[in-house]
């Protein structure tokens, strides 16, 4: 499993959306897709290939873990569940903080420009 160190550059857009969606806790694939849609006000609609490709990379990077077998589930339900690992959660929070800083700076710049 590859590990992502804290100082690496920011996550690509699809990975960022998925880790932010998983901040809510354990979700299956379709729920991740729906949550990404909700978080982006419907602007981001991930397709199945993009979603599972992204989850695959995040699992490889140790940011997301599959939790399907962690608890007994309905036999008829064949969905796979995922959640953030401890390092995934930390990366998600770092990304969130980075986005907040970005928005704050741009807002301050715009406010300054509006006053000038």
């Amino acid at each position: 499993m590859r590990r992502r160190n804290e100082h690496q550059k920011s996550l690509p857009a699809a990975s960022l959306h998925v880790v932010l969606a998983l901040l809510d806790g354990e979700l299956h694939g379709y729920a991740v897709m729906q949550r990404v849609g909700e978080l982006s006000d419907g602007a981001v609609k991930m397709g199945p290939g993009t979603l599972y490709g992204t989850l695959n990379r995040l699992v490889d990077d140790g940011l997301v873990v599959e939790t399907t077998d962690r608890v007994d589930r309905d036999e008829s339900e064949r969905r796979r569940y995922y959640e953030l690992s401890a390092s995934g959660r930390s990366v998600a929070l770092v990304e969130l903080s980075r986005l907040r800083t970005l928005v704050d700076r741009v807002t301050r710049t715009l406010d300054g420009g509006a006053m000038a």
Binding site: M1, R2, R3, R4, Q8, K9, P12, A13, A14, S15, G29, Y30, M33, K45, M46, G47, P48, G49, T50, L51, Y52, G53, T54, L55, N56, R57, D60, D61, R78, R79, R80
Partner: protein
């Protein structure tokens, strides 16, 4: 909603999933079809089909590129370079003062050594064990 277009779409999508690299489709193919089925429950089939077609067009090449990047190097590459090196050196010796052949032979020998070391490195660090993330980020950033 009429189930026939949905069934037809899901069957076609299931067939198109076969275009992904084998390892990826073995791992996620069934989940992807299940996700498309779930999406058809919430949105019109034509809308899901359109979205999925765009996704296929983007994610199939992406997955093939990733599979290619993480493919184990062939055992044959160092062997071929070594054979070329041997032939170059033999030609140089047989030809007496054929500096060009000697140069080709030595160059191929260096390439064989380099290919062999890459081969060993790839075996020591198989996909998913620490090497590759940066490479993926560099090459695939726009596609992710």
């Amino acid at each position: 909603m009429n189930a026939d277009p949905e069934r037809g779409f899901l069957r076609a999508y299931g067939a198109l999933v076969a275009l992904y690299p084998r390892e990826f489709r073995d791992e996620y193919g069934a989940d992807m079809v299940q996700l498309a089925r779930d999406a058809c429950r919430d949105d019109p089939t034509w809308l899901v089909a359109g979205r999925v077609l765009v996704d296929l067009a983007v994610s199939i090449p992406t997955q093939h590129l990733e599979a290619h990047v993480h493919r184990s190097p062939s055992h044959l590459v160092p062997l071929i370079y070594t054979a070329v090196a041997g032939a170059g050196i033999v030609l140089a010796l047989a030809g007496g003062s054929n500096v060009a052949s000697l140069f080709v032979g030595l160059l191929a020998l260096a390439a064989a050594a380099d290919a062999s070391s890459h081969h060993n490195t790839a075996h020591n660090h198989p996909p998913g064990t620490g090497h590759g993330y940066d490479g993926r980020n560099r090459g695939m950033g726009a596609l992710r």
